[in-house]
């Protein structure tokens, strides 16, 4: 039992922080929502200070992210990789494996998926379903490999996975750059040639002939894949035996060892699955959005995924909601000048979330000191 900490001041009150013995069920979500609200309010203050009109700005952000079905569809496009990466991070975090290498895993996934097309393995004559399935498999395999390395080093040699995953992000980026500049460069630009149509994840607008309301929408099949992944992840975490092992190991590795659980194997597997989901996000971006391999695929989806996992308290369904919120913010970033504002809000949300964790673990009270 830890002692309470009391911060005294010259004022007639003191701030008292004592450890919470139990957390009421409702407190988690409430604190989370409050953190987002506080971050948004602080954003308003900053906007006002620098001379902007906070209300107009927020209204504009909301308008350009959720205003009509066209922009909402664009928001979903941004949310798609976020959901996949957020799921991957939350799985790893469950086992207290701090995988912050999703960005690199995403890039390697994209690289491997494009390799299927750019090496000529998939030709314009390959049936679309087969082509896409191959690309998905390759993307997941690439991401899994990028997760396997830190997973193995952590499990076998006890190396710190935070540093390794972080460093491997840079390697992944450099590797992708090498390929787009040196191997598959199209006319000297940092991008490959456009993929043939059968390597594209179909967009909603392609079904406009049958379903009228889909016309003009950019959302692609990636969102469906992401939602399927959400359901599978929910099953794995809360219904499967493997998920049970992960939860128990995350809570007390010594107890897991005592119960005969394969900790080494699970560490490696979890890092691989986490990487595979990020790799799938990379595949979905190149096949559903840019349709080619290029040096810039992601505006930091891999890092935003960390915030999303945190914000959703590792709950797969909450990952969807958080991803849509952040997808909207990213989208709005292109509409708003200066474009840093949504990034600022994002950063502030993460900051508030981490800070608010104190409220979950401790009871903070202001007490009068006579």
């Amino acid at each position: 039992m830890n002692d309470a900490i009391v911060y005294r001041s010259r004022m007639p009150f003191a701030i008292k922080i004592e450890p919470r013995m139990s957390v009421p069920r409702w407190l988690g979500p409430v604190v989370n929502i409050a953190a987002v609200v506080v971050a948004l309010l602080l954003g308003m203050v900053i906007l006002a200070v620098v001379g902007g009109d906070p209300f107009a700005t927020y209204a504009h952000i909301a308008q350009s992210a959720f205003g009509d079905r066209y922009v909402f569809s664009d928001t979903l496009v941004k949310a798609t990789p976020l959901i996949l990466v957020g799921l991957g991070c939350s799985l790893a975090f469950r086992m207290k494996l701090w995988n912050i290498g999703a960005e690199g895993q995403l890039y390697i996934g994209a690289l491997c998926a494009s390799a299927c097309v750019l090496t000529g393995f998939i030709t314009p004559a390959t049936p679309q379903v087969l082509a896409l399935a191959l690309m998905m498999a390759a993307g997941m395999l690439g991401g899994a490999l990028w997760g396997l390395v830190p997973g193995f080093l952590k499990a076998r040699l006890g190396l710190n996975e935070i540093i390794i995953t972080l460093m491997m992000n840079y390697i992944a980026l450099a590797l992708v750059n090498f390929f787009v500049f040196a191997v598959w460069s199209e006319g000297g630009f940092a991008q490959s040639k456009t993929f043939p149509r059968n390597a594209w994840l179909p967009r909603a607008s392609e079904y406009a002939a049958t379903f009228d309301f889909l016309s003009g929408l950019t959302t692609h099949w990636g969102i469906v894949i992401a939602l399927v992944a959400v359901v599978i992840m929910w099953y794995v975490i809360s219904r499967s035996r493997w998920g049970y092992e992960i939860r128990l190991t995350g809570d007390n590795p010594r107890a897991a060892n005592y119960a005969g659980m394969p900790i080494v194997r699970n560490t490696i597997l979890v890092m691989m699955v986490s990487g595979a989901l990020a790799g799938l996000a990379g595949m979905s971006e190149i096949s559903g959005v840019v349709h080619r391999l290029q040096g810039t695929i992601s505006p930091g989806y891999g890092f935003t995924g960390i915030i999303i996992a945190w914000l959703s308290k590792l709950n797969p369904f909450a990952v969807v909601l958080s991803s849509i919120l952040f997808g909207g913010l990213i989208l709005a970033g292109r509409e708003i000048q200066p474009s840093g504002i949504p990034r600022l809000i994002q950063g502030m949300i993460l900051f508030m979330l981490i800070a608010s964790d104190v409220l979950l673990r401790y009871r903070v009270r202001i007490v009068r000191t006579r």
């Binding site: 039992m1 830890n2 002692d3 309470a4 009391v6 003191a14 008292k16 004592e18 013995m21 139990s22 009421p24 099953y235 219904r239 499967s240 035996r241 493997w242 998920g243 049970y244 939860r247 128990l248 809570d251 007390n252 010594r254 107890a255 897991a256 060892n257 005592y258 119960a259 005969g260 659980m261 394969p262 007490v367 000191t369």
Partner: protein, 510 residues
């Protein structure tokens, strides 16, 4: 505020109410501690002892009730307030910083040494303070070098140095070896003689009878005996007050001829965590329907013995067989699947996942096999149904089966582990200190459970620091000293205690 000439009590708590979701831990409790007395606080597991004292130490705020210290009403907002009133509490798990020295730990958090620290001078102060109360310490030793008993002395010194005159100790003897217990008791006596008042929580009734002046008993959050002088009571009466029925201390062990050898160790050697030999050529057999007791001062290889059998530690030589299974240098999983159940010594750090629910903790061993396992999935519906039953059968006191194990009292955590390990109908049971920290009623229950395993023809290896318990339950006792089995008695009885004690301390063995 003194009534009729009697000096005000050091502590007077009146009508204390403290509720947690689903339980009233303290239900209008009155408690009085006189200056210069040692006052024992007794009660079943979960009776609310720790809670009451945590309120007194300023960590919990009670929903109702008031507290007066030396006749002066107080309201504590924090442990620091309580400390300022001279109250200090030593929890069962210590809060020392292991890489710092004794003196540094004692001074930690105080403003005393100011900016310039001359630790040498303080070393001398600590040494003298220790000597005054009969505690030998080495002030410049680092905490990690100390035994549990020595660490406890540092905690006591820390309190004394802060000028505490009301000291609360939560189950201080549960972690101590017998010699250390007598040292602690001597220290407490000299502190009481010095005018300090001491609250002493314990489950060991004989200890309470010999140390305490008065005793207060709690049952289910209510007081059943308030400040009763120990001279006017007896162990059976205290036991009855605690559990609300009379407790038979005699263990009724039916006569039984042991069956086939279920567990066999031959010349087993193993190292401890530091890589030094901890088991040296241990040879041991346990038969079906037999309880073999392992006696020994803690740290003589008992923990390592349990770990090599349960697959948690590798061996450096010898064989361990159970039927036709080889257990040496295999995994915990192999041991579990060969029918070895294990009640670990460290229940919260090894035996449970504290933030998971009771249900999740109960399926730790069985989740791999049908019917809980169903292909890839886990049948949580069945797990919950089993958990309800186990909670009832093993009398696990908790609001629901979804409660986190972290929130249970020590005794109820132990019951959760026992429920899990015994419900799997093990062929071999390795029980390490299974009654440590349990109340008399619960101890009786656990002993019954061990005997039931014996009747069900399980091979039981039991390690306990309570010699009486070992003698009452075991069909055979082996004594461990420095990693070896140095002696063995069959059908042990009271008259063997002396010989066992001699072996335990490394006395010559014939």
């Amino acid at each position: 505020m003194t009534d009729a000439g009697t000096p005000a009590a050091a502590v007077r708590m009146q009508g204390i109410v403290k509720e947690f979701p689903g339980v009233i831990a303290n239900d209008h409790v009155d408690f009085e501690l006189r200056a210069g007395e040692i006052h024992a606080l007794l009660g079943e597991n979960g009776a609310g002892k720790s809670t009451l004292m945590t309120v007194l130490a300023g960590l919990y705020k009670p929903e109702a009730g008031n507290i007066a210290i030396h006749g002066k009403p107080v309201q504590f907002g924090s442990p620091r307030d309580a400390m300022n009133s001279g109250i200090g509490m030593i929890h069962q798990h210590f809060t020392l910083i292991s890489t710092q020295t004794v003196t540094e730990n004692i001074l930690l958090g105080l403003d005393v040494p100011g900016f310039l620290i001359r630790l040498r001078e303080y070393d001398q102060t600590m040494l003298e303070l220790g000597r005054k109360f009969g505690m030998a310490i080495s002030p410049s030793a680092k905490i990690w070098q100390l035994s549990v008993g020595e660490q406890q002395r540092v905690e006591i010194l820390k309190m004394l140095y802060r000028g505490v005159d009301i000291l609360i100790m939560d189950e201080p003897t549960a972690v101590l070896a017998p010699q250390e217990i007598s040292g602690l008791i001597a220290t407490l006596r000299s502190m009481a003689a010095d005018g300090k008042s001491i609250v002493f929580i314990s489950h060991k009734l004989n200890e309470v009878m010999s140390v305490a002046d008065r005793v207060t008993v709690l049952r289910q959050g209510k007081v059943t005996a308030a400040g009763m002088p120990v001279k006017q009571t007896s162990i059976p009466e205290l036991a009855r007050l605690m559990v609300g029925r009379s407790v038979t201390f005699a263990v009724d062990k039916p006569v039984k001829t042991p069956g086939a050898v279920l567990l066999e160790l031959k010349d087993v050697c193993a190292n401890n965590d530091k890589g030094l030999p901890a088991l040296k050529d241990v040879t041991l057999q346990v038969r079906a329907g037999e309880i073999v007791g392992v006696a020994g001062v803690s740290g003589n290889g008992q923990s390592e013995l349990a770990e090599v059998i349960t697959g948690l530690r590798g061996t450096t030589g010898g064989t361990i067989t159970s039927g036709n299974h080889q257990l040496a240098n295999k995994s915990a999983r192999v041991a579990i699947e060969s029918g070895v159940a294990h009640v670990p010594e460290d229940r919260s750090r090894v035996g449970t996942a504290p933030n998971l629910s009771i249900t999740d903790n109960l399926i730790m061993k069985a989740y791999r096999q049908a019917p809980l396992a169903n292909g890839w999935s886990l049948n949580y519906g069945l797990a919950r149904k089993n958990a309800q039953e186990l909670k009832k059968n093993y009398a696990i006191l908790a609001p629901t089966i979804e409660t986190s194990v972290r929130l249970l009292s020590g005794g109820n955590i132990q019951r959760t582990i026992l429920a899990r390990e015994l419900s799997g109908k093990p062929a071999i049971l390795i029980a390490m200190q299974p009654t440590r920290g349990l109340d008399v009623g619960a101890i009786e229950g656990v002993q019954q459970l061990l005997l039931q395993q014996r009747s069900a023809d399980a091979a039981v290896l039991l390690s306990s620091e309570e010699l009486d318990e070992l003698i009452a339950l075991s069909d055979r006792i082996v004594v461990m000293y420095e990693g070896r089995i140095v002696g063995e008695v069959s059908q042990p009885s009271e008259k063997d205690i002396e010989q066992i004690g001699l072996w335990m301390t490394g006395g010559a063995h014939e």
